[in-house]
């Protein structure tokens, strides 16, 4: 009787249909490998990596520095603007009671922090203190100065609020003329608005530049590895698998550039702290130097990493397709 020969079977290949825990394990292995290989590749060409990180870092440090300067100008404006009052000159012939009535009417307004009624005598005394005026004032028969209401607006008012307050002061009975000595503050606010917008646009442009720098670095890297990509695809790698190390490279480059940008900004901050401190002393300490907020410093490297990932993502799919076709 002939023995029945057991048919030979092909060895079981690596399973293509995986269970869920195995899929997760494979996913984890792929990412761990991609992370380490991308770091090793960056480390293998230190000069290229350093230059890319430096260009990106400087590009990202610029808007941070402008943001720091703008913030401090704003603080200075706030500090100096606190002492700016609006003066209402009463009509000639108005007495103390009329001036007090006008002051009481204005005290009820929500924009007003404080009102000081300055008598004609107070005004004359102030003028007398100004060098060269004392002789001229002695020749006057009567005090020609009116009562003045010195109105201190509440801090943080908008230009519209101030405008409304000035209008109401002009409309107060007995008031002859209103002089807004804080108008310069409105102009500063407008300039700061322009500056803020300019910094935002600059940050956007430099962010795009950083993204393109990463994109170009990754593009060149993929081009130089087209043979390797071909081999990987032939031995069963999927395109996302091939692409992943390049995406991680973008993340590392972006993160390192963000750290460099923060370091540069902090160095500039320290360099500016001294001169601004001296300026503060000149204003009786009413102005102080403000650094970049911690949340911003902490978030820059991560935002920059996202930028790097986007740059790598932008070019990698297309470049890998080209490399595979080649």
């Amino acid at each position: 009787m002939n023995a029945v020969r057991e048919p030979r079977r092909a060895p079981e290949p690596e399973k293509t249909r995986r269970s869920e825990p195995r899929k997760v394990g494979a996913w984890r292995e792929h990412h761990a490998w991609s992370m380490s290989i991308s770091l090793r590749r960056l480390g293998a060409r230190p000069l290229g990596t350093l230059l890319t990180v430096a260009v990106m870092g400087v590009a990202l440090a610029l808007p941070l520095t402008f943001y720091l300067l703008l913030g401090n100008v704003q603080r200075m404006g706030d500090a100096l603007g606190r002492n700016q009052s609006i003066s209402a000159f009463m009509k000639p012939g108005q007495n103390a009671g009329m001036a007090e009535t006008a002051a009481s009417a204005l005290r009820g307004r929500p924009e007003v922090a404080d009102i000081v009624v300055r008598t004609p005598k107070d005004g004359l005394d102030e003028l007398a203190e100004v060098q060269g005026f004392s002789g001229a004032l002695q020749s006057l028969d009567a005090n020609p100065l009116p009562y003045v209401l010195s109105v201190q607006p509440k801090p943080g008012l908008s230009a519209e609020d101030i405008g409304r307050l000035v209008d109401s002061m002009k409309a107060t009975p007995g008031v002859d003329m209103v002089q807004d000595t804080g108008a310069w503050r409105q102009r500063l606010d407008a300039l700061l608005g322009v500056g803020t917008r300019a910094v935002s646009l600059l940050a956007l442009l430099l962010g795009i530049a950083a993204l393109l720098v990463v994109g170009n670095t990754i593009r060149v890297d993929i081009q130089s590895r087209s043979a390797e990509i071909g081999v990987l695809l032939l031995i069963g790698a999927s395109r996302p698998f091939v692409r992943r190390p390049y995406l991680y490279a973008g993340i590392w480059l972006g993160f390192l550039a963000g750290v460099l940008a923060v370091a540069l900004a902090v160095v500039l901050e320290l360099a500016l702290a001294g001169p601004v401190g001296r300026l503060a002393a000149a204003y009786d300490g009413s102005v102080s130097f403000g650094g970049l907020p911690a949340w911003l410093l902490l978030s820059v490297p991560f935002a920059s990493a996202v930028l790097g990932w986007l740059g790598a993502r932008l070019v990698s799919a297309r470049q890998i397709r080209r490399a595979a076709a080649a």
């Binding site: 079977r9 290949p13 292995e29």
Partner: protein, 248 residues
Amino acid sequence: MPSPQNQHHIPYPLGLHGPTGDAVIGFDLVSKRYEGDHQALTDVSFSVEAGEMAFVTGHSGAGKSTLLKLLAMIERPTNGVVTLDGRKLNTVRPAEIPKIRRKLGMVFQDHRLLLDRSVFANVELPLIIAGVSPADRGRRVRAALEKVGLLSYEKQLPEALSTGEQQRVGIARAIVAKPAVLIADEPTGNLDPQLAMEIMGLFAEFQAVGTAVLVASHDLMLIKRMKKRVVVLDHGKLVADVPAMEVV
């Protein structure tokens, strides 16, 4: 040993014999026409079963490499059906190609090793792609390197190895994930006869453990010495399919 001109043995009528149920590799009336009207293959039909080793031979331009490219899904057939481990490759979606390729171990004439990675890292690649854990990877890579006699070279870069050793690294990479099918395109093209026989001996060992092995080669001396099945192509047509026992 048949020559392309001597069509003395065709074990089944061409075009009528498709892949059998046990076939791991199957070509059924497969034709391939490249752009520019170059007909690389015409109605080629044959199959290779698990644990079988076959040579594909013929002169330059006979269609050997095209045959392997169809199996590796680098090219698609113009007509006919190519099957791999029971799966019709004609209907495979592009996203499924990597999974199918993982069933194949491929050995190339020029090795295609990554020159900036160590021998170990090169052999490890298919296992990384398959998502094997690092501990298993280490064990299996060393087993594959031991199999090809290069365990002591695991930390070397490929450039530090001889051509024959590089080819063996390529073979270790091809077999490390235990593929169902091993295909090789002129794997001994750059090797001296003794090294070529050693490499073929390795292929025969993989055949013995159940792997289907398909080797494209024009080295007739080597094919004769191996005494394995021979599929002969001439101008893209299958002109002879000689069983192992009839190769002399």
